[in-house]
């Protein structure tokens, strides 16, 4: 499913019907500070859409507006075809929210957290009891059902928060940095759950500053910086547009002046990045470029050819000194 780069309004093949999120010139200001600066975005049904960006880029503010818990300052916003300003409760009834900070009810047990949350959505006690068991099983917390929330590990709390967000069978799940602060096992366990939800047709909208998370989960993403979109597209398109297929990393030892070596490799590739400890050569053929480096008589202490990642895109777009 080819998606034109830099056209975030294009609806991918998985979709049908009107967009679940539709924003035009969406703006959020807090006093003099502009957190979100006139963004345009559409998210189609069934899509996994990511907001990628450094801290303070405006991701969370955007998510709160989409979640109808923060009124936009300016611009148009439609969620599920409805206006958050007037239809907030009706929209929230059909959303699932995983906030950045755990907001589990610490005065209740694991199971009770799900039970009462379902009740807030107007579900009957019988319906929510059945749903709670199903969700506890889904997030592998059935054996902790009677425990209090506080002693759970960070990963378990996150899984419970995800279970809670699913209690109303939401059409769209909003995840604000879902795996920040988790260990690798917990992250993979969460990704697995999210991937299964996606396969079931749940629309995912998430924020992250982890590139691997964005690559794993997102069909389409935007890189946000200072309240605006710096780039838009699928992970692969972004890499193709803003980076190269591969990256050659050269290390010349601790005392080497990397600027000198940057001059010596000049012309081999279109873009060289000088870091304190290494040179990054952006290339479509890493091994070929490495051979060319040796042909120039250079003998780096180590060479590494790796696939280009979103991280390369991200750092290029949101800042690190570059030599083009």
């Amino acid at each position: 499913m080819p998606v034109p780069v830099a056209n975030v309004e294009t609806v991918p093949a998985a979709s049908s019907g009107p967009p679940l999120v539709h924003a035009r010139r969406l703006t959020k200001r807090f006093g003099d500070f502009t957190a979100v600066d006139g963004i345009d975005v559409d998210v189609a049904r069934g899509e996994a859409f990511g907001f990628l960006g450094p801290n303070g880029a405006g991701k969370s503010s955007t998510m709160r507006m989409i979640g109808c818990v923060s009124p936009p300052t300016e611009g148009t916003l439609r969620i599920l075809g409805l206006d958050p300003r007037t239809d907030g409760p009706a929209i929230r009834a059909r959303l699932g929210v995983v906030p950045q900070q755990d907001t589990l009810d610490t005065e209740l047990s694991v199971r009770e957290n799900l039970l009462i949350y379902g009740r807030y959505f107007g579900m009957s006690r019988a319906a929510v009891r059945a749903k709670a068991e199903e969700l506890l099983d889904f997030v592998q917390l059935s054996d902790r059902a009677k425990d209090k929330v506080e002693p759970l590990s960070g990963g378990m709390k996150r899984r419970l928060t995800i279970a809670r967000s699913l209690v109303n069978d939401p059409e769209m799940l909003l995840l604000d940095e879902p795996t920040t602060g988790l260990d690798p096992q917990a992250r993979h366990s969460l990704w697995d759950r999210l991937f299964r939800l996606k396969q079931r047709g749940v629309t995912l909208v998430l924020t992250t500053h982890y590139m691997d998370e964005a690559e794993q989960l997102c069909d389409r993403l935007v890189v946000m910086d200072k309240g605006r979109f710096a780039a838009e597209g699928s992970p692969r398109e972004l890499i193709a547009t803003y980076s190269t297929r591969e990256v050659l990393e050269l290390r010349f030892g601790p005392d080497a002046d990397n600027n000198v070596y940057a001059d010596k490799v000049h012309g081999l590739v279109n873009r060289v990045e000088v870091l304190p400890d290494r040179l990054l050569l952006y290339t479509d053929d890493g091994d070929g470029t490495a051979a060319a480096v040796y042909d120039r008589g250079l003998r780096p202490a180590s060479t590494l050819v790796r696939r280009s990642t979103l991280e390369d895109v991200f750092l290029r777009l949101t800042g690190r000194t570059l030599v083009d």
């Binding site: 818990v69 409805l82 409760p89 959303l95 900070q101 009462i116 807030y120 749903k131 109303n168």
Partner: protein, 282 residues
């Protein structure tokens, strides 16, 4: 499993499911959803019922110590030309004060913890629940707790022969009204608190009222200038309301007491809901 919220009117965002909501328009508040907030608290206290029982003992100890102990020294008090046993005089004052204390405690410490630390309300507001639902539900819960205490205290008063009038049947709704007035204002105040230190101000207001708002001695004890000050305090109206009902000294001033507490509660509730919205939905 989503259900549309039948009582919400999306176009205006307002709903008048209860009499209260019609008097004080709270945006998007429904009695059913406020009831879910109560349901949450019932879940919490189902395990911690001992905490609820403990709240009953404070006014009981006061009654035994001051009412019966000091009462034996004081003897009688004359109110409106009627001679009352001191215990009969002080018991309704203690009941009104404990209704105030319970409501204030519930609506300040408990609410502050959930608001600032547990982020309980942030999670709740991601559902169809509105700030008005949360505010009304939390105050409602404080009233239910208060009602349990008032009922048991009234039972003790009956057992000790401290109730002199059939009007006393109205003591329970009156105590709920006191709880509503103080609970709503307490919650509104809590939304302005920056840290735990600010709760000192609550004590600074509540304790003098408890000691001086005619709980322990009649208004006529004060010089007239001070009487005017005491009459302005909300607890004075609460104490006088309950005392009129248990002693049977009922007159037109009852309307003033009730009116004062109703208006105070409604204003508090309106401010609390508005502030919750401002704090949490920014």
């Amino acid at each position: 499993m989503t259900q549309t919220i039948g009582s919400a009117t999306p176009s205006s965002g307002r709903n008048s499911g209860t009499l209260l909501a019609r008097i004080v328009p709270l945006p998007g508040t429904s009695a059913r959803r406020a009831g879910l907030m109560v349901e949450r608290n019932v879940l919490v206290y189902r395990r911690a019922w001992v905490l609820i029982v403990s709240g009953f003992f404070e006014p009981l100890f006061y009654l035994l110590s001051i009412g019966i102990g000091i009462g034996a020294l004081v003897g009688t008090v004359t109110v409106d030309g009627m001679v009352l046993d001191y215990t009969v005089f002080v018991a309704p004052g203690l009941l009104a004060s404990s209704a105030m204390n319970g409501a204030v405690y519930d609506s300040t410490f408990n609410i502050f913890f959930k608001l600032k630390y547990a982020k309980t309300y942030d999670a709740i507001l991601s559902t169809p629940m509105s700030p008005g639902d949360v505010a009304a539900g939390e105050i409602c819960w404080a009233l239910i707790r208060g009602l349990i205490y008032s009922t048991t205290f009234l039972g003790v008063m009956l057992a000790l022969g401290l109730v002199a009038s059939p009007w006393a049947i109205l003591v329970l709704p009156a105590a709920v009204l006191i709880g509503f007035a103080f609970g709503a204002v307490g919650m509104a105040a809590t939304t302005y608190m920056r840290g735990w230190q600010d709760f000192e101000f609550v004590q600074l207001i509540v304790l003098p009222m408890f000691l001086f708002a005619t709980t322990f001695f009649p208004l006529s004890t004060y010089p007239s200038a001070l009487q005017a000050v005491v009459v302005c305090t909300p607890l004075y109206h609460g104490v006088e309301l309950i005392r009129a009902l248990t002693t049977g000294l009922v007159d037109g001033s009852l309307v003033v007491h009730i009116g004062y507490l109703v208006v105070m509660g409604l204003i508090g509730l309106r401010i609390a809901a508005g502030r919750l919205e401002k704090l949490l939905l920014t």
